[in-house]
Symmetry: C2
Subunit: 141 residues, 2 copies
């Protein structure tokens, strides 16, 4: 089911500062920047490796407002790991398989993720306290 660890989503207060920190410290390159109004974040993807069906990244997330999910996370827990995403071949199929096993899905249908991906979130309480994202990467051109 899981082909790779797709990304680690890290909540931060200042995206530009953290891009500078991570790229300088670990010699990583930003391969995408996006504003996702639906999720209330602006974000950057820093490339680590290529894997089966997609890549592996650090995803830096700055909330667009204090009352967005990432804004509330920052107020409660401070900066740090917000979620972990795993690459799957087909997100709808993975949602169905996982849902049948009793794990609650936070999304009824896939939504738009970074870099043209299709994604869905699982309830952290059903996955050991880890907010878990499923990612079907966009087909490579």
């Amino acid at each position: 089911m899981f082909m790779r660890i797709d990304h680690i989503g890290i909540a931060c207060r200042d995206l530009e500062e953290k891009i500078e920190l991570f790229s300088r410290t670990f010699d990583l390159t930003v391969v995408a920047r996006e504003v996702n109004e639906e999720q209330g974040v602006k974000e950057a993807m820093l490339h680590i490796a290529d894997g089966e069906g997609g890549g592996s990244y650090i995803q830096l997330l700055e909330p667009l407002s204090d009352d967005s999910p990432v804004g509330k996370f920052l107020a409660k827990r401070g900066e740090g790991v917000h979620h972990v995403a795993f690459g799957v071949p087909d997100v709808e199929e993975a949602m169905a398989t996982i849902g049948e096993k009793g794990v609650r899905l936070l999304d009824e249908r896939p939504r738009h993720g970074s870099m043209g991906s299709q994604i869905a979130f699982l309830h952290p309480k059903d996955v050991g306290g880890m907010l878990t994202e499923l990612v079907q990467a966009a087909k490579r051109q």
Copy 2:
């Protein structure tokens, strides 16, 4: 510097229960179990993928005592992501390079990690609130 996301370390109260949950929900296989007295944990590695220089895993961690680092983490934050580990070709070289950039190392020299690896931790306050581990995997036979 980073070749892969090596593993996501997840703190849990009951290792056997979480092994059952993760293996059943995501069809993952346990490839190693260890007790690491130095770090005060018993742990299991669930294999996700192979990558450059080593694999990618979910690492489940149960503390051996309440006053161990993972025991204190659970008391403060509850179950969930404890740290994130990245694969490097040479852990001593990576420690030197990262240390020169002003990030504090929690280890003066590499210590023993899962499955014969050599590891070192970075101070989470210097890495966006993420407890970060560097992993040099054991050479494959």
